[in-house]
């Protein structure tokens, strides 16, 4: 019953998403800008929830409660700081400026924006290349996750490769059809659904175990979890909490599918309203999702090693249909992040690699077609990789947030300091990426610096080099130094 129900719910979601995609397809202009950015027309609710659903996917649902289960509810503070505050500030500092520049000059990607200002297609290609390097394995991880979840859900009836393949095929059809508009619409349904289901689940569990005070009392009673209630600990050191919040908060802002949403807002008003609602939305999801994880630690549940805690606590205390809905929602959340990543990955490839380096003369119509072909290639390649599931790719995917965070400070320097030179920003990006990759894959650099992670140290290196090299070099003649500073905000 449970298996049939869960599969039924997932299939139902897929059909609903496909219908939305077909409807969105009928509204599109068949231009690249419409495909990638819905022609910059997203409204407040849609922009807010599409960013929310894209940002907070399977990671929030599965990994977040697992961390809170193992180490205590401080994870709420870390996620609240990184998403609710740091990302919100970047929403203005990076996002609003990008939105203005994008509207003024027609930028679709951040690489395009930087390449134009610094008069360098190589810089543009570098930003896109670096982004794809981190994005590709991250997409692969989602396919691995979806394949594994489907296999577990159907008790092996759908083998891993078939499950991952079906999900990939579905995503291709859906993204190629729907583009940004359709994805944003399904994300909106998705985000609202996630939020409601999490609260229903929380209330259900709390009623079953006698309320929050009783649940917290069980934590205090057990020697293993007694430390959960005091702020901080061996796992949650100030350096680790701040490193994590900083690298993920900045990394998220440069994740292609999130960064590109900065270009897609319909108006200033949309950006303003979204900013004010953002911290509330975050706290509304994080508190119930991660408290469930933490409270589970005080209850006598057996969570098999490698399994997620959320399905276990739901299976124990809530009816089958509710657990099925929440898990199906999490599966769908995984897919809703992946489809946005595919779309953005394809646009980075088409605009920043194909056009500047292979064929710059293509028409807008043709670019739209190439973008859709790009989605197919990107998804298929990630699927093939997911079948082998190589350890190296796994590590890169896991480190993707910190990898993207390395791009944030050079970008911010360029956006706000006229003195930035092409040599400066190129050095800042190249060196911080090299440093961070070397930290991941070689033993040249230490694993931590007095408790701070290599991700944060790399960001500091990128900042220092961007500023330092800019100070000692002169701008190239084809740089457009005034590009980000004159007439910004004028229509």
């Amino acid at each position: 019953m449970s298996v049939a129900l869960q599969v039924g719910i997932i299939v139902g979601y897929l059909i609903l998403a496909l219908l939305v995609g077909v409807y969105a397809y009928r509204l599109t202009d068949r231009t690249a800008e419409d495909f990638y950015l819905a022609s910059r027309t997203l409204g407040t609710v849609v922009l807010l929830f599409t960013t929310f659903a894209t940002l907070l996917s399977a990671f929030t649902f599965f990994a977040g409660p697992n961390i809170a289960y193992a180490n205590g509810p401080e994870w709420i503070l870390v996620m609240g700081l990184m998403d609710g505050i740091v990302f919100a500030i970047l929403w203005y500092v990076i996002g609003y400026k990008q939105w203005l520049l994008g509207r003024q000059y027609g930028y679709v990607t951040v690489g395009e924006m930087l390449g134009d200002r610094f008069g360098s297609r190589y810089l543009r290609g570098l930003v896109a290349g670096v982004s794809l390097l981190w994005l590709f394995p991250y997409v692969m991880l989602q396919q691995v996750g979806a394949g594994t979840a489907l296999e577990a859900l159907t008790e092996g009836a759908i083998p891993y490769s078939v499950g991952a393949g079906l999900i990939t095929l579905f995503m291709i059809v859906y993204v190629v059809l729907a583009g940004m508009r359709g994805i944003a619409w399904t994300d909106t349904l998705q985000g609202a659904f996630m939020l409601v289901m999490t609260w229903v689940a929380l209330l259900w569990v709390l009623v079953a175990i006698g309320g929050p005070s009783a649940a917290t009392a069980t934590l205090a009673d057990s020697a293993e979890t007694a430390g959960f209630l005091s702020l901080g600990g061996d796992f949650y050191t100030p350096q680790w909490m701040l490193s994590t919040a900083i690298t993920i908060g900045f990394g998220v802002a440069l994740f292609p599918q999130v960064n590109q949403r900065f270009f897609a807002a319909g108006s200033r008003k949309v950006l303003k309203r979204s900013l004010a609602l953002w911290p509330i939305l975050c706290v509304l999801l994080f508190v119930p999702a991660f408290m469930l994880g933490s409270w589970a630690a005080g209850l006598e549940l057996s969570v098999p090693a490698g399994d997620n805690v959320l399905p276990v606590i739901l299976a124990e205390y809530t009816p089958t249909w509710l657990a099925a809905l929440v898990i199906a929602g999490a599966m769908a959340a995984m897919m809703s992040s992946s489809d946005s990543m595919l779309l953005s990955g394809s646009s980075y490839f088409t605009r920043d690699l194909y056009r500047p380096f292979i064929d710059g003369s293509i028409s807008d119509h043709r670019e739209d077609l190439i973008a859709r072909v790009g989605v197919v290639l990107f998804a298929t390649a990630a699927f093939v990789a997911s079948l082998y599931n190589p350890a190296t790719l796994f590590e890169i995917g896991d480190a993707a947030f910190s990898g993207f965070a390395q791009l944030a400070l050079p970008l911010m320097v360029a956006l706000y300091w006229r003195g930035t030179t092409r040599a400066g920003i190129t050095a800042g990006i190249a060196a911080s990426q090299t440093f961070y990759l070397a930290s991941l894959f070689t033993a040249i650099f230490p694993a931590t610096y007095a408790g701070w992670t290599p991700g944060v140290v790399g960001m500091a290196i990128g900042l220092a080099l961007t500023v330092g090299v800019s100070l000692v070099t002169t701008p190239a003649t084809d740089e457009r130094r005034a590009r980000y500073f004159e007439g910004v905000g004028g229509d």
């Binding site: 700081l81 609710g84 919100a88 609003y96 702020l231 108006s267 303003k272 911290p279 910004v488 004028g490």
Partner: protein
């Protein structure tokens, strides 16, 4: 320092405070609970609500500061509140 950059410095200070105290460092090691949740979690929830109010105020009063150079005419109807002070 003119009026505009003073205002900008003020908002930057507000942002720094918002970031600094989202995690209540002064409650480090405290394990008191209230209504079933640790007090430091209540602080965080309250802080996020405060952040929302601050962002709202910022959007209403200072949106565009530090970014808009405003040497064009503004066509957006929702954007007339930002005067010359930041320009």
């Amino acid at each position: 320092m003119n009026h505009g950059s003073l205002e900008l410095a003020g908002w930057i200070a507000v942002a720094v405070v918002l970031v600094s105290l989202a995690i209540p460092w002064f409650l480090w090691g405290v394990e008191t609970t209230a209504a079933g949740l640790p007090v430091w979690l209540w602080w965080h929830v309250g802080w996020m609500l405060l952040a929302s109010v601050v962002f709202r105020l910022f959007a209403d009063r200072a949106w565009g500061i530090g970014i808009e150079t405003g040497d064009g005419t503004d066509g957006d109807s929702d954007h007339t509140e930002r005067g010359v002070e930041s320009r």
